[in-house]
Symmetry: C2
Subunit: 309 residues, 2 copies
């Protein structure tokens, strides 16, 4: 385990055992302190930092979990090459005054004889990402159930970029009586509009240039929504026009869905999401906006030109 | 909600909301008190009473959950006619100084849109009861995950009679990092040897007379084990001889299994279980013993004649 590299303090305590995590939370709660958990797969970036800052502002104790969960990667996906940067992650956690880093091993999370799976059924896990990544959401639901059971946080923080995952987790927490408030934080974007993701590290300059069609497509749909357009087919059409500007972009889907259930909608309201998944030179990116919410507007407000390149 | 009928005190507080249950446990733990949970489907009998007494002896606060869980009954099983006796249950809880009764409604446990299932895979859920009652163990795993998530007990108490369920729950709690110690308590038997079960209420005198072949079969196997016999086929043969004494008994299975994994064994050791499921005039009964444990011996020690009727 690399030592915490800390620029601003002693650094967060690093623990690897779920029982220790539980004791820490129980201790905090016994002192009438609230506990916030930011579940991550490490390779922390500005998106994670925004989650941690929100947790820091809202909770007395902040824990960050760092675990690259093998069960949410499919065969042929990027589990092996997924970015890992534990020392830098600890530095970021120290900078943000995180109290605790929970970094269990794969053997701790999935010991010999492990046999339990948590599955959320219905459109929220079966459409879109669920259809393109079989088994992915079962892996997510199981690991999140484990993390929330061990940490017992008052609140847990997730990024809106993974909107379908957020909807799944809200359902899971409600259904299993986990008692954690799920806080969904706005997607953080680079100045060029690309949603920040650990997987952006895979992009060549050319891949990145073409990938910008994704936020531009979303911005075009948002602009149309602001002009009063509500028909899903029309909004999807505006987004698709922008995606077509990038010849090497392979679109898995563009969809307009209810943000809670992820069922397709014909006409959007302020609780609907437009979501895109696309591959560029082998890297798969997802992004989305809620055009009726502030976050949806932000795509256009941060310098992305909805009229395209 | 019937009022608590109490012979010995003010009676347990009855709550119906998982958030209230969680607050109660957090409050206890904040005061350095331990919490014990006895999950039941109500119709409380001497077996439940023994679980409650064990919890009362070991924990500062004792909660009993009463919930007839529809998702662990298959189509054509006895969900509708399963015995319900809430007022008498509250009396028993008051007699045993239970602090809290958690009695949620079906709508609270499974609200509109409920979509989450917890599944434990492998022999522990796929053989024996798992094979004869498809979906049963998924219902059990899901409701137990919910109850433990809401109650967050230090310990939860289950009866050895449902040995496969106990093995499943131990696996579940380990895998999901639920942090509860699972305490398995010896099967309680009536003086004639029949394991106490809410379903015994369905038995006519003749059905009950024939059902006694089940504990007699287990006692015969235990007696042979004590004499040094370890071969599964031989021990099963001794049990089967006794079952054959009851002409209307329909045997679903007699099996010798590892008590943790429920995998079949050829030769028994002290961690192995002999388990029987059989139907008599439409009522399905299960029973089992660990011949190498004290509990296994108890079958013969309580007046059951291993030589048969």
């Amino acid at each position: 385990m690399p030592p915490p590299g800390s620029a601003s303090g002693p650094g967060a305590a690093v623990i690897t055992d779920p029982a220790e995590l539980r004791r820490s939370s129980d201790h905090a709660r016994a002192g009438a302190m609230t506990v916030g958990l930011v579940p991550t797969m490490g390779a922390l970036h500005a998106g994670h930092r925004s989650l941690i800052r929100r947790a820091r502002a809202e909770c007395d104790r902040v824990a960050v979990s760092i675990f690259v969960n093998p069960t949410q990667f499919g065969p042929g996906e990027d589990y092996q090459r997924y970015p890992r940067a534990f020392a830098a992650d600890l530095t970021l956690c120290a900078e943000e005054d995180v109290d605790l880093v929970y970094a269990p091993s794969v053997e701790t999370m999935y010991p010999d004889g492990f046999a339990t799976r948590v599955r959320v059924t219905g459109p929220v896990t079966e459409t879109l990402e669920g259809a393109f990544r079989p088994g992915h959401f079962e892996g997510v639901a199981t690991v999140v159930a484990k993390l929330l059971s061990a940490a017992r946080p008052d609140r847990a923080y997730f990024g809106q970029k993974d909107a379908q995952q957020c909807a799944l987790i809200r359902r899971l927490v409600c259904d299993l009586d986990l008692g954690t408030e799920i806080v969904v934080c706005p997607t953080v974007r680079d100045p060029d509009g690309l949603a920040i993701s650990s997987r952006n590290a895979y992009l060549s300059p050319e891949a990145r240039r073409q990938a910008l069609a994704i936020p531009r497509g979303l911005a075009a749909a948002c602009a149309a929504y602001r002009r009063g357009e509500r028909a899903a087919t029309t909004l999807i059409h505006f987004a698709a026009e922008r995606l077509a500007d990038s010849p090497d972009l392979v679109v898995d889907y563009i969809a307009a869905v209810d943000a809670d259930t992820f069922e397709s909608v014909g006409s959007l309201n302020d609780r609907c999401e437009i979501t895109i998944a696309a591959r560029i030179f082998g890297t798969r990116l997802i992004d989305g906006v809620v055009p009726g919410a502030e976050e949806g507007l932000a795509v256009g407000d941060r310098g992305v030109d909805p009229s395209g390149p």
